[in-house]
Symmetry: C2
Subunit: 127 residues, 2 copies
DNA sequence: CCATGTGTATCAATACAACAATACACTTGA
DNA sequence: TCAAGTGTATTGTTGTATTGATACACATGG
């Protein structure tokens, strides 16, 4: 597990610890981090991204509270064994629902037809 | 112009004044508010949505700084005359670009194929 | 003229995020 | 055994963001 898998944007309005939690949620759901796999240590992650170790610890703590991670004392944090290797496509899609709803609202406010939006998104998804 | 055109979610992490600014941006770009048209007064908007008048004023002030609105002293705030009646489809699509980029990143993190995402969005857009 | 309607400058209160510096409990592994 | 590695609790500080309460300057329109 490499700390470089994660992306942190310090300038974003979204607080750092929440950026980390949400990335964890998606990376685990997508199977890019397998159950049982060890995450980068708090100090390693903090050093790599030049943030405070306590900020990383906070993110890990929240993820643990959600059942995403589990603490292996003396070892570090690992993806919880209760997490299936990879969620079903339907489950992963559900994680995007709030974002899709917001996008749809914006499209309506802009009075844009669906077609050009779908075309642009298709392009961004690399099809 | 009716204050009910606007939507405010007080519980959202997004601050209220920014919710207002961004809605203004889209509603003007989409032509749902025409150039020269008067917006609801600070107090009317604040009363309707049960927020502080200064919060609305702040949003108006920012929108004025962006050239979206202009102050008619003694009258109120109006959509700037320099705003074309409605932006081109391409311009409006450009306003969605950051949101589409973020969505694409999340889709990749979830290791989702493009197709189900596009299908779901199509449905939400009412096709 | 002046009551009434604009927007807003100012100040205060509150909450939050991030950082810093420790100290601690625990496990591992040589 | 014990040094070195985990995560975390604690305390304090700093900076910033958001919202709110109040008072003010100004233009309108009867």
């Amino acid at each position: 597990m490499d700390a470089s898998l994660f992306t942190i944007q310090p300038a974003a309005p979204e607080p750092i610890y929440r950026q980390l939690v949400e990335q964890l949620r998606r990376l685990i759901a997508g199977g890019q981090i397998a159950p049982g796999e060890l995450l980068p240590s708090v100090r390693e992650m903090a050093g790599f991204h030049a943030v405070n170790p306590m900020t990383v610890s906070r993110a890990y703590g929240i993820a643990e509270g959600e059942g995403l991670l589990e603490r292996l004392r003396g070892k570090g944090m690992a993806v919880a064994a209760t997490q299936k290797a990879s969620h079903t496509q339907h489950q992963r899609l559900a994680l995007l629902e709030p974002q899709l709803l917001e996008l749809a609202r914006h499209v309506r406010e802009l009075e844009l037809p669906a077609e050009p939006v779908l075309r642009r998104l298709t392009k961004l998804l690399g099809d």
